[in-house]
Symmetry: C2
Subunit: 194 residues, 2 copies
């Protein structure tokens, strides 16, 4: 046996396949940004210059495509929680991260798939990305609760739902500003020191 010990045959993935995958993701990112998340998948394939079948092979569902596009950014957002936690006092870190979260959501202007993926909870496909976000917000909230600075009688995820949901209704820069105010109000409302 000249193969790897556990797999009968391992073959280098075809070069054209990987090329098409990346091409589709780039094209989709542009088109989604232009036309919103409901853009036609056939149009994306057309613009990318590949057949519709190819798109579906790489991304069996619309969600899979969207998820793939934003996986990196999502991971970054989650990572930011850690670094904020290390460099800021608990409540301030939480506040800053929530602002970043809103910015992240707003730039995807109303892509309900993205939101569902992060905080909706039903989609299996997104489990990993969602876990990252959930872990991030829990880390920050737990820290702030541990110092006794804030109290929280609800799932932190629901705060994200409110912030993200607002964006899905009134997306764009206006919500960005509104959400900042909202975050301040929420933080104030959660503070334990009356």
């Amino acid at each position: 046996m000249a193969e790897k010990s556990d797999e009968p045959t391992v073959r280098k993935p075809r070069a054209d396949a990987e090329r098409n995958r990346l091409l589709l993701m780039e094209t989709a990112k542009t088109v989604f940004a232009d036309k919103g998340s409901s853009a036609s998948l056939e149009e994306i394939a057309r613009i990318a210059g590949v057949g519709i079948g190819t798109l579906y092979r790489h991304f069996p569902t619309r969600d899979a495509l969207v998820s793939a596009i934003y996986r990196n950014e999502t991971a970054q957002l989650a990572a930011a929680a850690k670094s904020l936690a290390e460099t800021h006092p608990p409540v301030e870190a939480l506040r800053l991260w929530l602002v970043q979260f809103v910015d992240y959501v707003v730039t995807k202007h109303g892509m309900s798939e993205v939101l569902d993926s992060l905080v909706g909870g039903t989609s299996e496909l997104y489990a990993d990305s969602a876990d990252l976000i959930i872990g991030a917000v829990n880390l920050l909230v737990d820290r702030a609760v541990a110092t006794g600075e804030i109290r929280l009688a609800m799932d932190p995820l629901d705060i994200l739902r409110a912030l993200a949901g607002g964006a899905s209704i009134s997306c764009g820069p206006a919500w960005r500003e509104a959400a900042r105010q909202l975050i301040d109000i929420l933080i104030a409302g959660m503070r334990a020191n009356r």
Copy 2:
């Protein structure tokens, strides 16, 4: 001229037309409740036993249909603001109304058209319903601000956006509970007495 002075001919609206209009609204309400807001309009027409053309005559867009269905309930919700304002202290009235607002939204489980109509702002069709809601929340917030009990540095509508948006992501009873907590936190955060 035996007719009205300004109109050449006024004729009683046909009885079957009005019948079909009501039938469609009832059917649509049921179907939307069952299958969500993206249910097929053709299916609604089929179940109602009318042609698709008839549906489109009465309700030129999906929004028009949804809007017609919930116009009454929306008006009631708006009216509740007035009666709460008369029977409760300002902040409590606001809190109670927000709870009612969430209940209202949740029962339409994630009908983004409804939400857009109320707080999204772009749709012309809903201007009247939206104005009612905007008037209601402004009334309550203004009252509470006037007594100095709360401060608010943002458009009250944005609070509704957050509450309604959350429902669009995580609809159902779970959000109902979460929103109640959120409302309490918001009220606490808006209180001026530190």
